[in-house]
Subunit: 352 residues, 4 copies
């Protein structure tokens, strides 16, 4: 019931989105949306030198600071575009990018500049829309917080409470839930950058306050809808809920979360299910892990092909790129989660 | 463009599906559909004692063995139903099941018998519909084969070719790509069964012949659509493509798949991407891994609660259940993959 | 949110439908559904000699007489099929039928027997599904009643109250709101039948009790959704709301419905709007008129072409057909209206 | 497959639309789009004094004058807004407008200014999107032309050829297909205006070149999709195809269009079907008539109610309004038709 359309491309006039289905009366504050967008920006020495102001404008759907019930349109003008380097990728496709497949699918008119519609920059409107979805969920007391659970070889293997994540993750540029690990992660990125290489990682997203019964199985299960949205984020290669892949090697007696009554409230003692049973939220915290591959654009010379001559060649991708997108992806994962949950809460009549 | 509706429940008159959007002229042979269904059945001593004949009927959409362009309807009558044991789960919900969440969401009229609409039995119509999707893909020379890559502690860590999987996986009851590992897996299941416990596992699905450009990003990416469908299969807790979660700890220089020209054809040297870039198939084999949790229904006594008295209690789930659903899930994963690919091939005009 | 799929064809194993999105707990009584179906049957000497028992079965979605929240599946087996006469229509298409266009669109595998998926018989599952939609609306006190407002040259130009329609229309075989006009209409049909010809007509449908605000403009307006559904009924050529086409020749001062307060309730003095303003119900009775063309199948010899020889020829359509489908269409129009209103009431949260 | 979202409101920052599903490589010329918009503007003394520049901008989806395959976004900034007069309509709703129903549905935050999302101004983005749809159809040689077939008491009862309409309708401000009738229609409008009143009318839209088989029955019939879209245009109260409501009083032998072979091509001798049979185009010209009510906003004093005091009162609507929107609606009807046909041609694979 909440329909999101992302539009624009990295090097056109701008990017934006239409969020249709927002109920009338939701607070929509441009500054709140802007604040979320700031969290997506590259952070100083860690990120790409491309610095977009990313100033969001509300083009429609909001009057006097509140949604009117009509589609909400957000727009971010592109400023700092330099597309000169992209033309050659039509002939020599970049490994790890969709240059070649996009050319084959959409033909020569496809916009490859800055990755075109496959650019990581398309996640900016996702974050902007997510800010509105978060506001919709706030009325239900549903809260979302994500952090960098793994960055290259640095793994945060501690169980983290929601409060801890909420308090720590926005305090350091790598969005770690632990200040000490944050330093290790920064080091990992700097090292990769120095070598002209990149690193991947895992973002973990926790949601508290979600009522029981969110999700619309058979097909529109809670996990299914979240997973589909996550794979729209460039670079995502895997997703798991709760024990996830570890569940494959567990026994049922170990994996099943036993019910308990505490102070008259039902809960489970463990949370191997990650907050979902039978495609429905079960009242426990939602626990999602999303795997990101290392950034495909690296300075190191790579093998590729020359499509005109149909022969092997090499390429050095000289654009301005992030050695690691994981820290910037943390707020994107939160936004993606918020959008799916707001939609399912509307569908299940949890939001009026 | 291919819309699937699953209907029925484990203990009602029967189960079935409507597959809308099948082009006219596709061969639909009842016996072919039946053969796929046989692969989903429990296998002798390894599985549940419930033995359904699972005879599929074609109620509509097929004339003289070919689809007419109208919705195809398949129906499987329930025969061997014994729902007497399910009523008590309304008061004492089973750990690992959606009894409690379903009651809260749908109210007292919900059908919990045999898991109701959350029953693993609902995957039978999925397999039946998948048989038709496979037939649709056959015209494109797209082929799908899955196998049990992990079963509890038994891991198949060999790279497997499509042909190998195709040849081996249907030759043993656990759907292993290796006859020796098959024995270990059988042992693993028998052991869990003996202890009244259950085990999980990982199904790996390979697809060859998929043309470049299948997928409809931004939101309807190839990975996103596959992932959403997989999470409709009861027990799935994670999914990854290609290197998947391993990609999180790789460097870009290691993860990027270099292009090469071999005999005038473009391919990549490695396949860490698992056949998908930018939400589109890239012409390499699709490589999907799906994690299944251990069966929730176990004979061992578990802690739960008494909802009437709101106090802790215990439960022994006495129904007839599988100690491991992974081998039976192999053909379900194939069917789910086929349905998504047939839909995306229709949407991308790969199928006329 | 209420998704209806119609399946089957006039001369296959049977016809039916899947109604997905019915909330749990709605009373679904097979006999009630059957009663609605009886109203769609041809009436003695007035209709086609084809007599189908049209016994409806509930295959899924209902337990102990109430909906479970899962898709409801209804099935009607075909009994009295005689398709021998249809094969020749592939070579000599019937005027007024979709034989030729269907062949061009779906190819040679299309099922033309009895009109295939274009058969009027496909409205039986629509009526069955409509019975459930009516039950959903009953909880809101929304009531629907339709009648034959015109039949060939016989016009009922009286303003009719809902109660009058409710009381009269089911009492005579032509569904007239007036017993005297009913006789004229019967005469009109008998005359056309005698001449081997057919007649058209207009069905008027009134809805009372609809709350204000039903409809989801911009695109999913109340009129738009109703109109789309009506044009799925074979033979419909026009639809209008309230003053409809007459509004085109009216002045604004005459057409605008003035508001009034009566006993503390807001209403309009006239109802030229037919109960809809700005795509939303306005609390006044919904007033819909639907034009039906005369039955295309007539016994009189008609000009057509021989597709094999590509030359002019003639055809006499010898099947068993209705000289007038309008009386049978009355309950179909009610069902179509009920399905759209139930869907829009779900979408607008008027039904929980 | 072509999804249109209209956004903005009459008195916010601007209005616009997102057209998703436009294939890559379609010519999109801003000036062409602008030219269509000019046809929607009020014409001198005949229309509203509100004069919007209505300059359209392409925000996304087009590169170097051609669509990229990504969503196309068009935006028209509002300039001449004067919303001071609208606040009082919250307390004293205007007859013929959705003020009251919108307030009840969306609550106090709804934007009533200039009609908010129910404003006729929302048809400007529809026309802009329609210009792109027309370009998509041009490749198939499908052409669309509409004209004012009735305006108040002035009726154009001549059969009109497509060429005639094409040549004449844009040559006079009332979009008549006949220069003499145009003068009568102008007179009709001036008279209504002089009296502070308004008039309605009928727009007839013809489409030539449409291939056989466009439409996706059962539910997404050609008539159904066109009808649904038309009812999104403010003021539409009825729609008919071919003989339409007249068909209700015809005999089958008179209404059926006989087939003929002329120069090796199949056609029908008459076109009572209006180009559609069984929900599919039949190769004959599409013939659509759309009834518009007279403009609801009139200067004459009208009866209404005071919602605060719940008592009867009167209102004079002083805004700047059209005495007749029919001439401006002609290009809107063309655009609506183009959008539906482009979508159905994509769905039926008539457009690659």
């Amino acid at each position: 019931m909440l329909r999101l359309t992302i539009f624009g491309s990295s090097h056109g006039p701008g990017i934006g989105c239409v969020l249709d289905g927002v109920p009338a009366g939701i607070d929509v504050d441009r500054d709140d949306v802007q604040r979320e967008l700031e969290l997506r920006k590259p952070s100083g020495a860690l990120g790409t030198p491309r610095v977009e102001e990313d100033r969001v404008e509300i083009l429609a759907g909001v009057m006097d600071g509140r949604s009117t019930g009509a589609p909400v349109v957000l727009f971010i003008a592109n400023k700092d575009t330099d597309s000169s380097k992209y033309e050659k990728f039509r002939a020599t496709p970049r490994p790890g990018h969709a240059d070649l497949t996009a050319l084959r699918k959409y033909g020569e008119t496809v916009d490859l500049r800055g990755g075109g519609q496959f650019s990581g920059r398309m996640t900016a409107p996702l974050v902007a829309a997510g800010a509105i979805a978060k506001e919709m969920l706030r009325g239900l007391n549903v809260q979302i917080a994500a952090y960098t659970q793994r960055l290259g070889s640095v793994v945060d293997d501690q169980e983290r409470t929601f409060k801890e994540v909420r308090r720590q993750a926005r305090e350091n540029p790598v969005r770690s839930a632990d200040p000490t690990l944050a330093l290790d992660m920064i080091h990992e990125i700097m090292e990769a950058k120095h070598e002209g290489d990149s690193v991947g990682g895992v973002v973990r997203c926790l949601v508290v306050g979600l009522p029981m019964g969110v999700g619309e199985p058979f097909f529109d299960s809670l996990e299914g809808e979240v997973a589909k949205m996550m794979f729209s984020i460039p670079g995502v290669k895997g997703i798991e809920f709760g024990a996830g892949f570890k569940a494959a090697s567990m026994r049922g007696s170990e994996h099943n979360d036993s019910f308990q009554v505490v102070d008259g409230e039902v809960s489970t003692i463990t949370n191997n299910a990650g907050g979902v049973l039978g495609g429905l939220s079960n009242g426990m915290p939602l626990d999602i892990k999303v795997a990101f591959k290392p950034t495909a654009s690296i300075a190191i010379e790579q093998r590729t092909i020359d499509l005109d001559r149909m022969e092997d060649t090499t390429i050095k991708v000289e654009g301005r790129h992030d050695p690691c997108i994981v820290p910037r992806a943390v707020v994107v994962v939160e936004a993606a989660t918020a959008l799916v949950l707001a939609d399912l809460c509307l569908r299940g009549d949890f939001i009026a």
